[in-house]
Amino acid sequence: MEEKEAPLFKLGQIVYYRGIVLQVSKLREDGWIEARSPTMHVTATPDEYQTTA
């Protein structure tokens, strides 16, 4: 049986987008990930996010 790869990001996880702190708000079906803060929201492919500052 094939092992499934663990997802890179989880809902509610804190991520960094070009140094800006955001929280993952949606894992889209097309593979893109939505993350937001009160004043910014980003929809991007997973490679655009970092998990550490």
Binding site: Y17, D30, M40, H41, T43, E48
Partner: protein, 148 residues
């Protein structure tokens, strides 16, 4: 390899200004991206107890700069999203003199403004697409959508 970011520049009791910019591969165009969601904006009546969120937004001004070869379709989000406009190239739309573009979506209207990018011309740009939108809106709380 692709990201579209919206920054909320103004989120007051009445006015909202959002700047959306991003780049993406022409082979994987962004679809159904939310620009503004009234449910996530601040209250229209911050002095009052309770939260009076807008239910819809009207668009007063759009500034846009879109790379050639693609068209940005703006939608009022609903069960069946309603096309607001298709933007191509660069320009500024001043819609204020006639009261702005009003949300005319039907069933399942969420008040959100979303966009989708489609290919307009597959011969000009085969690398990256870029967009910049600056959208000024006014918050509304329509009685027909449960506003009080």
């Amino acid at each position: 390899m692709a990201a579209v970011a919206t920054q909320i520049l103004i989120d007051g009791p009445r006015n909202t200004v959002a700047k959306t910019s991003g780049d993406f591969l022409m082979s994987a165009l962004p679809t159904g991206i939310t620009i503004l969601d009234p449910a996530l904006l601040t209250s229209m009546d911050p002095g009052k107890a309770g939260t009076f969120l807008a239910t819809t937004l009207r668009i007063d001004v759009i500034d846009y700069s879109i790379s050639d070869g693609i068209t940005v379709q703006l939608f009022w989000d609903a069960t069946t999203p309603v096309l607001i406009a298709e933007l191509y190239g660069r320009g500024k739309l001043d819609l204020k003199p006639f009261g702005g573009w009003q949300n005319n979506a039907g069933a399942g209207n969420t008040g959100k403004i979303t966009f989708t990018v489609i290919l307009a011309d597959n011969s000009t740009n085969t690398f990256n697409g870029t967009i910049l939108l600056n959208i000024w809106t006014v918050k509304q709380r329509l009685l027909s959508l449960g506003g009080a």
